[in-house]
Subunit: 227 residues, 2 copies
């Protein structure tokens, strides 16, 4: 590493973090729509040009927010994945950690989450700009599956991580609308759905279900590629 560059890089890291923190604070104070890049730059104590240097748009700040929660999630789930071999426990723990990690941001203006249904937004979960993060989440679910002691057919092992990523989006969607105290309803739904998923995986080898299994996996592959 070129040590001459290091101080500049560190300063850059510092500015980047300050902009990100200012944005989060303003989103919570004023709402997402009402927050401008100018206001974010002022709060962070940097120039407007500098803000745009680090984040091309307000939406890129939300993408950074997603990355941030993903890092929190990885840190939260690490110990369990290192210790536990039972697939149901690994899956339940991982998806539960997603919503528990995101809980402090639950009352974030809905506008932030609503961009997931906007195909022209760089934040939509199928878009180019969110691909790196999407791949990381799918990779995490591959680890959830491969690190377990469950014996699953190869075709299922290949598609299950993508299916679990879709499942995580479904749970997060439910969580956004969940008004129960501490989002306990979401935790219950996670208990029920993870048990159901593992139960159905156990049935997937039944001859009578083999045709449906092939069709489901083909569908997951095709939907994931087509987007």
């Amino acid at each position: 590493m070129n040590t001459l560059l290091q101080p500049k890089t560190l300063r850059g890291e510092h500015s980047r973090a300050a902009i990100f923190e200012a944005a989060l604070a303003l989103f919570q104070e004023r709402g997402y729509e009402a927050t401008t890049m100018r206001a974010i730059a002022e709060r962070a104590g940097v120039s407007l040009g500098s803000s745009y240097h680090y984040f091309a748009s307000k939406e890129h700040l939300v993408l950074e927010f997603y990355r941030h929660t993903h890092q929190l999630h990885l840190a939260a789930i690490g110990p369990l994945l290192a210790r536990e071999r039972d697939l149901a426990s690994r899956l339940r723990g991982t998806i539960r950690a997603v919503v528990v990690t995101c809980e402090p941001f639950h009352d974030f203006p809905g506008a932030i989450f609503s961009t997931v249904a906007n195909p022209v937004s760089p934040l939509n979960p199928f878009g180019k700009e969110s691909k790196a993060l999407r791949d990381e989440v799918i990779e995490l679910y591959a680890e959830v599956v491969k690190g377990s002691d469950a014996r699953l057919p190869d075709d299922i092992v290949a598609e299950l991580p993508t299916l679990l990523w879709l499942y995580q989006m479904g749970i997060l969607y439910f969580w956004i609308f969940d008004k129960s105290p501490g989002r306990l309803r979401t935790l219950e739904v996670i208990d029920q759905t993870t048990e159901l998923i593992v139960r159905l995986l156990g049935l997937a080898n039944l001859p009578v279900l083999r045709g449906s299994r092939k069709k489901i996996l083909g569908l997951v592959r095709s939907v994931a590629q087509g987007t």
Copy 2:
């Protein structure tokens, strides 16, 4: 009917329709965000107060848009439901008619559709204001199921319409992101998923699947109630 009121009512209907048409035109020309209630009133040739009398907010105009497409959908699917008894054909026809009916609006600004993931928006599909329309769509799927010659267990007949409403939302979500010509990919996915649904319904009576079936139906009931 009080005939003295009729002319006024008709005039009211006319204003309401003019405001709705002006809104649709402006959403397509300028985008949803950039369109104001004032601009809509001007285009419709009515006062701003009159606009707010018929539609409490811009979002209520989008709710009207959903109602409008639902009416188009009902009209499109009527003949098939009157004639066809095969469940797979009824289901495929019904869900296909949704996307074909919505096709002229596909390039509508994503912002309109993105409100579905916003819990504070009156447009979110689980909210109070969209309940009437949601119930109508669930009622339509009840008719799709009940008018078929499929023999299904009572517990499935009870929850299937709600499940099919969720399925319709999933297909519409896929359709929003579909960039294939004429949205042919969505039509393919509809073929594959409706076939799979009917196949799985046929297996639901297998003793080995009875436990999973109970759990899945309980989950649908609980998720639909909880929201």
